[in-house]
Subunit: 278 residues, 6 copies
């Protein structure tokens, strides 16, 4: 996690939520009133962001606030106290909403990822994310996937090679597309190609690609591909995979299963803040 | 919508997704290759952000791209073409993911809002949002709520007064809390107070507050509150309201129903981009 | 006050005043030379910004500088020492001009506000500011108004409703304008309408507006409006009010008097910095 | 004037005034409603900023707005139309307050400067400003001084040398202070020294300084200094100079008169915007 | 190349060079004076940045300036006109130094890269760069390497895996280090390991790494490594390679040769700007 | 040195080098693993930036890292330990490349400057830099020149006057160009004019300029100019001066010698980082 970028983002989020301070609280509390805030879990989930992220939100409101949160990956049960912050009440209330909005989302992603991971355990397959993240939150969301036991696919268009149908069509063949990319892309990146048919999987093998993405294939086709490829490339299942069918996909023998929903539609976890004034 | 802020945000989102450009596409397409991108709906929903937001994303990748999108609030059907962009292929591919991520989320919020609104039509009640928005996207998410027929609650801690349990406890009574706020807050803002019991509703009335938030009350209590208040303040139902119970809440006669889920857990709409190269 | 924004602003101001450091002082003092700076009042005024604002300026030049300033709202007399800072001489000299420029302006605004407030005491009327603030300094200037005993009108175009002549003309009537606004604006904001005649005041009442701004009305008309409105809306006197006529305006019974000059043309207070080197 | 920095500043100012847009106007006007705005002078003054600054504010709200303003330095009379802008009403109203706040201040500074210049015409003396500018607005305020016929003193601590009492005291003598500075400062900058007595003026001459600032000297002393220096250095009168005594100061023969009040306490000019909707 | 980031960088560079404009030129030219600028080569080199980079610098000073530059990779001869810009003289002079400083550096890098590439042609080896770039200019410098015919190594610590001596020492063996990385790093990235001895090369092979960096090895050892590895991994020669010994290194059969000096110490090309005023 | 700007720059540089952290090291080290980093000199040079700049880089990665570096201007010998940093290994590795890239460049500039200074010692002449600096690094590079014993020419177009051939041509004569500049430029800046012939030197004298830049003149002409000017202006030799001919130029009696190569093509010093883990 890039701490400098994290701090910059949180500053923007705090400014978004309280550009002119908290009018209500400032009318009621003075700057010296101290208090203790507790984040209480309202359901079961995998905690994410309670230390670094929530802590940084409160810290940025006032460096004097002392925070303590559960470790990333902790299994939380209802009514667990998962984070505490001691300091001026005005700063605790200023941080509340931003911290909750972030932590609820991150924990939601970690929890959903863990559910997928649990379904495929102990098969030798990795659950990976996609670029379908919330704009502005990619670093935090991909971090939450790792907390949940998942793995990250490329972060950006600039740190991974993925040749899709448009690229192939524009070149005329997988072989030509791979050739052009090999001539220009950094040698440090593997080359991944999207395949929709078994013929394309064969073309991929012939072109010596590192990873083949099996796009929306049936379990039968995936199994065929696994046999055909026989370890000469990594195989990534992609498209339409959910908690119901992920085990079946995993059992085909693919190496990776990528799931947009991890970051795209993980429901937020229910957490509330209780405040005790001194 | 603040256009200057919108552009700043989109620049950050584009930088997040392609800090060093699109390595794959740049190896395959040259800068002069033109194309046409189409956003295709994969399900039914209420479109939001197709003109200003998606258009700005493509425009920022290259001011020469020409865009056209459906109006905000349009009812979309599966396979509808809801947005087109003509320009250099490299710029279309650079804009794709950021534009889709934003528009799918905004349309999701508009669609969920519309569903709530439809449930309570034609009762004289407004569906309103909360501050439970995605950090960094509040402006866009609150806009999407309006597109769906909902209304916005306060945007920030600085442009609305909401006296909650902590504030009341710290002052000793609703009367005292309201008194302190009135002494200091801008006269342009209404005063809203959270009430958990009928006694508190009465205290609110006695204190002359403008809006009373009925926190997690049963329909029976809400109905009682409506009768008690009798138009002397706005009544806002809040807490635990979903598509199943929203009609019942609306029928109690409250003026407003606020729902965190509008922005918090609206599922993203399914939209894909098709590309045709010239 | 938003501390994150305050720090960002002061960084910009320091960069504006010393982009490449202080060439003169750096040629004369070394980095280890310590000193003590004192801000000395050269006239009587109400102090504002001596703690948080001046302190932050010196702190940003060097976190090791220790500062102490009088509380906001203190009545200062000539020759009073109102702020001290101990630390490296180079940092004290770097902070000097920015801190003085800010504090002189803020104190000037607090002082002028206090003079208006004193004129109308003990009448039940509030002195309020406007949006005629110095671009970039609104938060600090509105804060200074509060220090002087005044109140803030809306901060921005986004956190208050004010229907003016143009809006009314475009709609055809006050009733229609209010109707359109009510349909769309957040329910948390009061609706204020500008009235130039007694007929318009009546229209406002009929439309149920919350605040009526009496635009450039004579004391006689204001008195008439107070009687007519009779507590059913707040009345705000606006336009052409100065220290000479503010008492007369207040005695008409209006609730609020808004004065652009508070932030627009408050003369800066005379303060100088004395430096003692160790 | 640095156009890139100007645009950055104006963006911040617009964001300060309308972070979430103009709630009132957006409820009343649609995005297609066109109009024409006119800035009308309410008094006599020297216009400043009507072309580049006001124009840029409106342009940033919407690049399609067409603007036209009087040249910098124009003598304005009451009721003159000094600026017009044609475009969407919503954008005209969004730009109004920021543009007026800037232009009223800049014109105020140009006008006050011109009054000082007129008083000393045709004597061979320059009216110059100081670093006592509004934080964040130095570039615009120093520009306005030039529009009024004045000249700029150093912009920052980094582009001019000014040895003051503290520096002299720390070194033991003017000679030593000048010596240290000469060893280190860029050769492109003149060396200016503050002198409070005739002995110090002599020391300055002996040290070969380029400019001597006569700090709070009486006209008699200034005249003496002029005779003593006899063209071997520039002489700058500073401290306590106003419209009443500036002529007397000028007649002593000094080369420059610096006046903090030019930027510090120039009253804003009275300008209002009229809007005509199509 | 990321155009949004490029523009942001150039704005900062222009602000660095002319924060308050060009005092000299503004005293001499008025804003309407038009002219034509020409960049003239003073020596032979490979041109880089003349279109996009130089063009953007002038464009940012004034969008109305029309520019034309030679294509990246063009072989320039002394006295060639490699770039022209038509527009207001003041803007041409404002852009001059920043544009030249960038283009001279980029062309220097492209030229040095080309010299290395020419030395190894037609051997099947790639000349690649490192992270030893000028802070703030990595994107432009890596682009210039590609213009010269070289290839890019990883851009950042976040988009490539390179296991060095410290990492190996901390884990106890190459095998363990590779194991830990494989468990956590994105599957899209190849794994590169630094080897200093033939034993380490063997360990790398055993661990199945994708790329082996031969650190400061003699040509004899490199040849040995090539034979040993026999195509089962890419081999990258690194350390102490210059124009004199690069051919020898290439002839050993390694796949890649990385050279810090490409970006680190490429001498700037000599280019000057001539200005013709209309 | 402007510390606020320094920190902003370093944050950008760190973000450029590790936008998503250090993938390799994060897979191998945990956050608690402590270590000690040492910068080791690989050759002889003048150290620059080891305290403030390198220290700030490590400090920004983690405020808890403790650093110690040699003073600016220290003469370094091969194998000297010139900087140490104690703290978490992950932060040491994150800071490494940015710190080295900056310090190697700054020390290179200081070293080259010192070599020029040594060549002309003890003649009364100053070695000065130019605006031919790396975009984004001017503050640091000009600082390094001072560390090496050189002096700074103007920092920007805004803090010095330099009338060049284009300016003269546009005005018709040096006299007219100087006249125009004198009418408008701040009186705190000296006026420098570029002269290519002895006639122009005479014109400069007649116009009373403060500094005459002798552009690409032979030593004979320079000597002639020194005699002609006879102390009535500073003389700056410029163009084509290198370590071979700088002594000859200095012996002509000019006051200043400006050398673009100081910042433009100083070779970077060879420094490496060694890491010891606890």
């Amino acid at each position: 996690m890039n701490r400098i970028e994290l701090i910059d983002s949180i500053k923007r989020f705090l400014d978004e939520d309280g550009p002119g301070g908290d009018l209500t609280s400032e009318a009621i509390f003075n700057a010296h009133q101290m208090g203790k805030a507790r984040f209480i879990a309202k359901e079961s989930f995998i905690g994410a962001g309670l230390q670094m992220v929530a802590g940084e939100v409160f810290h940025l409101c006032n460096p004097a606030v002392r925070c303590s949160g559960v470790e990333d990956g902790t299994e939380i049960k209802p009514n667990d106290v998962i984070f505490t912050a001691d300091g001026p009440v005005l700063d605790l209330l200023l941080a509340e909403r931003v911290a909750l909005n972030l932590v609820q989302r991150m924990s939601g992603i970690a929890t959903l990822t863990r559910r997928f991971v649990d379904r495929v355990t102990p098969l030798p397959v990795k659950i990976v994310d996609t670029r379908k993240t919330t704009p502005g939150l990619r670093m935090l969301e991909k971090y939450a996937v790792r907390v949940g036991g998942g793995f990250n696919h490329r972060f950006t268009l600039s740190d991974g090679i993925l040749i899709k149908d448009n690229h192939i069509a524009a070149c005329g063949s997988i072989e030509k597309a791979v050739g052009r990319v090999r001539k220009q892309a950094p040698h440090t990146l593997k080359i991944e190609v999207e395949a929709e048919t078994m013929e394309q999987v064969e073309e991929c093998l012939a072109a010596g690609v590192d990873i083949i993405m099996l796009d929306n294939m049936s379990p039968e086709l995936m199994r065929l591909a696994v046999r055909l490829v026989n370890g000469k490339a990594l195989l990534e299942a992609s498209g339409g995979i959910n908690l119901e069918n992920v085990r079946t996909a995993a059992e085909t023998g693919v190496n990776l299963i990528s799931i947009g929903a991890l970051t795209h539609s993980a429901p937020a976890c229910d957490i509330s803040m209780e405040l005790e004034t001194a």
